[in-house]
Amino acid sequence: MLDSDLLRLIGRRIVGLIPVMFGIAIIVFLVFSFVPGDPVTMLIGKQSDVSEEFIQQLRHKYGLDRPLYVRFFYFLRQLIHGDVGISYQFNRPALEVVLERLPATVELAFFALAVAIVIAIPAGIFAALKGGAVDRGIVGLSVVGFSMPNFWIAMLLILVFGTTLKVLPISGRLDVTLTVERVTGFYILDGILAGDWEVVRSALSHIILPALSLGIPAAALIVRLLRNNLISVLGAEFIRAARARGLRESAVIYKHALRNALIPTINIVALQLGFFLTGSFFVETVFAWPGMGRLAVDAIYARDYPVVIAAVMISALFFVLSNLLADILILVTDPRTRGVR
């Protein structure tokens, strides 16, 4: 499937990301250069015994006494070196702090995606094939699904599974009594690597509720798309032709219809990965999930802007990459877009 044309296309898209990320950096820089009170004031905090001279020195050190465009180039130069400043809370490079928390968030995003797919694909097929009341019911549920804020789903789940049924843990990534050697940062993977099934079991039980909270609205969206695509594909000419050739109904559905209905859906599924990263800002807060989202929210409270900027840039990068992934999947799977442009 992969030919040189396709590779060239993908290459061009990746190169196209450079100005996009550059633009995002400009936006982030501009937005955060309007933060009331500059970082020096923030650094010094409540200490009142600092001299005006020292403050000026600090301002000079951070380049804050320079014009905006000079500071922008300074910012960009730092950014290229992966440096967005020192976290005021942790007194370490902000990016390092954020990257440490990234695996927790990515792990969550992948499980949320799995949840979404596992719910959406059977439900979508079922709705399209059964029609009637089943279809209306599933479509209705899906509208409800994406009308719920994810952090409220989180609290509902906590209430039902955590405090009422008491079957699942409601905060953190792992039982406090357990530890695992950090290799990948994905606890489930680390547990498997260490052969520690206790860790794997605990990590899995912790991730279920957060993953559901993020996955349910996404599932709701995918169900509808898949159902609509499937219904229009089932009415299409080539399906009728396949039926006329006397193919078994199940073969018609699985071999022909489903494949064609899934192609446009894959794109949306990939896009969800990007949305999960921003969704994590809210869901991680509810579950005390020690990921990037929760870190960022805490940093907002602590006015630790370098960390906020780092988290925003990383989320944006992931978002852009998930868009890219979605485009590539479309290119690879959809024969119609091949050879165009």
Partner: protein
Amino acid sequence: MSRTLTTLREDLLRFLGGPTVSYMKRDPGAIVGGTIFLVFLMSALFAGVVAPYDPYQADLANSLQPPVGFGGSWEHPLGTDAIGRDLLSRLIYGARISLSVAAVSVTLAVLVGVSLGALSGYFGGLIDEVLMRIVDFWLSFPAVLMAISLMVVLGPGYWNVVAAMTLTSWVPFARVVRGEFLTLKERPFVLAAKAIGVGSAHIIFREALPNTFPSLIVLSTFQLARNIIYEASLSFIGIGVKPPNPSWGLMLGTGRQHILDAWWIAMFPGLAITMVVLGINLLGDSLRDALDPTIKKKLGVVEVQ
């Protein structure tokens, strides 16, 4: 100008009247959605009449009262919060915040997005180049993240939320209007009007713009639902509307701390958000089908939070 506004209003009402209404009357989704939405709208408009209590009045003696049916009394049908404020009254006043932030920001976003989209689609050239680059960046930057960043900078507050919501929701309008204008301006009926001798303003406002109304109406409904969720999300993490305002998001934020001992504080505001967003989404789906089954494609997909 006022004549233009009058005819624009007529054109708009035409899309919302007659066949659209008769289609929606036969659509159960629209009826359910419309009813829910109306209930919330009325609560918001007449909060002062409907709400049994002052939403800000603390009553420590009656704190953490459970709702009726869970050990509470009809005094406080939905219970009270940690400082004894009546939850039902706060929810009713909350509808005001939620709906007004969303409505104001969508209105502003429509004005900004439609103006920029129309100019750029109609005149093309440099404006269009610049706008398209901006749109590209906006689209590669998740709206929630943008809203969060803006709120961090602006600080919490009602009007700041409105500003952040506006800045994050004008782009889809600009995109849709630009796209439609690109094709509309080449359409023979526009050439016919030019041949008659009308100016650009007439073409933009009287000939082209009314043709974008079906898309705009549908997009506005979905954007309204989206902004309600966004406002709640921002308030939930403490960078939206300021306490003690009864924002549903804020109530959820404080309710989170009581999830183990007073579940109702978080459950009811969440339910309210879900209901009103559901109502609007149902209305939007129905409007979309009623106005034009093909505009779905032009609008693309609605994003989830």
